[in-house]
Symmetry: C2
Subunit: 405 residues, 2 copies
């Protein structure tokens, strides 16, 4: 009954995506910036490499001087010394001559190719070239990696180790990023106890604190655990007030009607507004989205699997947006279903799966377990989405699998 | 010439996989254990849930009392009160009666099903049940998630947020893990300068420090940067000695013959032994593997892409083994090539690719760039392996793609 107003997954995302965002920036060192979101469009102020370099150990030549050269008919060039790595190359290459160069060293003027050492024979003051070299062969030209003035990284990109390498190449020892998102996490439920407590009959330990907190840790957010609130408005409000300094509040638990009502009324009594209550998904239906003190608040289901699916599909997109991330792909794969997946029409369903690669390709096997079963998540590599408009998938169907992050 | 002794990728992995490993353990708190490797086989010492619980808000019944019940022909049961969540349920259900239960509360003795509130009508002291309930419906039974005595996690597993949730359920506030791997990183090359220095002609900034260090950070290792060594045996030996306390040493750079020779002779002069020098792969060929002071040492190519591919394919498996990880899947997908990938027979080749999902499926596009080009890595989502026994792939071929970690 209380779900009469439940929204579709699509509507829920539209409401979430309309939540206003204000971003703040700070300067940090390149050393600390893995996983952070760059807050400036980065344009190369240098060419990388800053000079043309040899990609191999060998001899720099004018390619015309070794045209048609082969093992049985080598070209003979004058040996004019060696280029030292790490220094400016002042030598100029004359017609009919060659200079030894090592990998990474600066090309001399006049040269347009490098022939690998393997295709050469040193004979005193001369060098035999036993292979024809193409123009530009084995050279990395000035700006070939990154061109002066080119766009290197767009604002809103989450920095990978490779991005940091590129920024290092450009000498960016520090850079503008968006400030870390502060997320407060509250567990709720009269039956919930802390991990180090011994449960009395009827009590269970807090699971969602560990799953949710650690999934959010991976997003480079500052996550703080406020505590376990009991199922009454006073305690819930007390805990929400404790989360006042954060940018986003997550309350896990409240899977029963009474608890859900306490969470929504507590938010409203503090001056907040419920934006939706219930999504037509399975698992994860009793998800609440609200605004309080201008911050987004999610009420996540208590069942561990429901909680993680609501987090993955609905909270994570907003976390990324509040972090300033504008583009970011999910890791996916496709595979063949080993069994049927039955599903109800009209509900978007998330089915945990295992993924096994064998000689026939990628095999996807659903893990059918109740939404309260945390062990099924620990075994899962990813999940399949059954859209609301489908009544499941059949064995042998090719399905898309989303990896858990 | 110096690569006459180059090994195949397969041989290289065999040599690396034969490197002896000794593991050390420590106890840490559950809070700090994300990404660490569990060092004990974990067996459940409790049932999870520790009692049978309702999965929904509704009424606990004996299912035989509502057999055949439907909207037009409801079963009428006596209302016998409410079960409180978080407490021991002492009530016993009698024939012909029902008790209100909320999600997560403990089932009473005598009940074998829960009918959702939506399919009930409260009428004073009685409740109409408008739907037939199956035996066990909407109940999560004692031990259904984790059975007392069952294996929960095997030694050698890298802990995910979901694993931590499972350990929390079992009350494991701290646990045995393998000690963090200490990895020392040295950059080498006369042309290499630090990120905050302005390059003179012929010099370039250290890229590999940032790519390698940050890729290793993601494995939960302690990575320390020793410094940039110049291309002479004395300086190289000095830097290697500075890495003496670590469990593994990586020297990036040394792509030219002279540098490679200095690295191998320096290792030998310190009493180490070269295990291979050169792998028949592209890029990444000038990779060195050695043992020094009983620790593994890798000499990684200087070109950023070569360095990352050698790290990904050859260093990472050993990092994981030295961390104690015994099982761990790579994230993969399959897709259709949008262009040909030419490749030389006899060399295992790694081709960076972008991955785009559209309505026709997964499109895989090679990024053809020289091995010195870091910007191509920043754009890549993964890579395709062309085995040594193939001369490339053709446009339209279905290929396997490995995601970068």
């Amino acid at each position: 009954m209380e779900f009469l107003k439940a929204v579709t997954a699509q509507q829920a995302l539209e409401i979430i995506n309309a939540f206003p965002v204000s971003l703040h920036t700070e300067v940090i060192s390149l050393e600390e910036s893995l996983g952070r979101i760059v807050a400036e469009d980065i344009v190369a102020h240098e060419n990388i490499p800053p000079f043309s370099r040899s990609l191999v150990d060998g001899f720099v030549i004018k390619v015309k001087d070794a045209q048609g050269a082969k093992e049985t008919n080598p070209a003979l060039l004058y040996y004019k010394g060696e280029i030292r790595i790490g220094e400016e190359t002042k030598a100029v290459l004359d017609d009919g001559s060659c200079i030894y160069i090592s990998t990474g060293a600066m090309m001399p003027e006049g040269a347009d190719g490098v022939v690998m050492q393997e295709y050469t024979r040193r004979m005193g003051d001369a060098v035999e070239i036993t292979k024809t070299t193409h123009k530009g062969e084995n050279i990395c030209f000035t700006g070939e990696d990154i061109k002066l003035g080119s766009s290197v990284l767009a604002k809103g990109k989450r920095l990978t180790p490779f991005d940091l390498g590129m920024l290092a190449a450009l000498g960016m020892a520090d850079l503008w990023v968006y400030k870390k998102l502060k997320i407060a996490l509250i567990s709720s439920g009269d039956e919930i106890i802390a991990v180090d407590q011994q449960p009395e009959p009827g009590q269970i330990r807090d699971i969602n604190r560990y799953t949710v907190l650690n999934m959010l840790k991976k997003t480079c957010s500052d996550v703080s655990f406020i505590g376990i609130t009991r199922d009454n408005p006073e305690d819930i409000k007390e805990h929400l007030r404790g989360a006042h300094e954060s940018d986003m509040i997550l309350v896990s638990g409240g899977s029963s009607k009474g608890e859900r009502d306490y969470i929504t009324t507590s938010i409203e009594q503090l001056g907040g507004k419920i934006l939706f209550h219930g999504i037509n998904i399975k698992p994860g239906k009793p998800t609440i989205f609200a605004t309080l003190w201008g911050k987004p608040v999610f009420g996540l289901p208590g069942h561990p699997v429901s909680c993680i699916m609501a987090l993955t599909r609905f909270v994570m997109p907003l976390v990324k947006r509040l972090q300033g991330e504008t583009k970011g792909g999910e890791k996916r794969t496709t595979g063949t279903l080993t069994t049927n997946i039955p599903s109800s029409y009209g509900i978007e369903e998330y089915v945990r799966v295992t993924i096994v690669y064998d000689e026939e390709g990628c095999k996807v096997t659903p893990l059918f377990a109740k939404s309260s079963v945390i062990s099924s998540l620990s075994q899962a590599s990813g999940y399949v989405i059954v859209p609301g408009g489908r009544e499941g998938f059949e064995q042998g169907d090719e399905v898309e699998v989303y990896y858990f992050e």
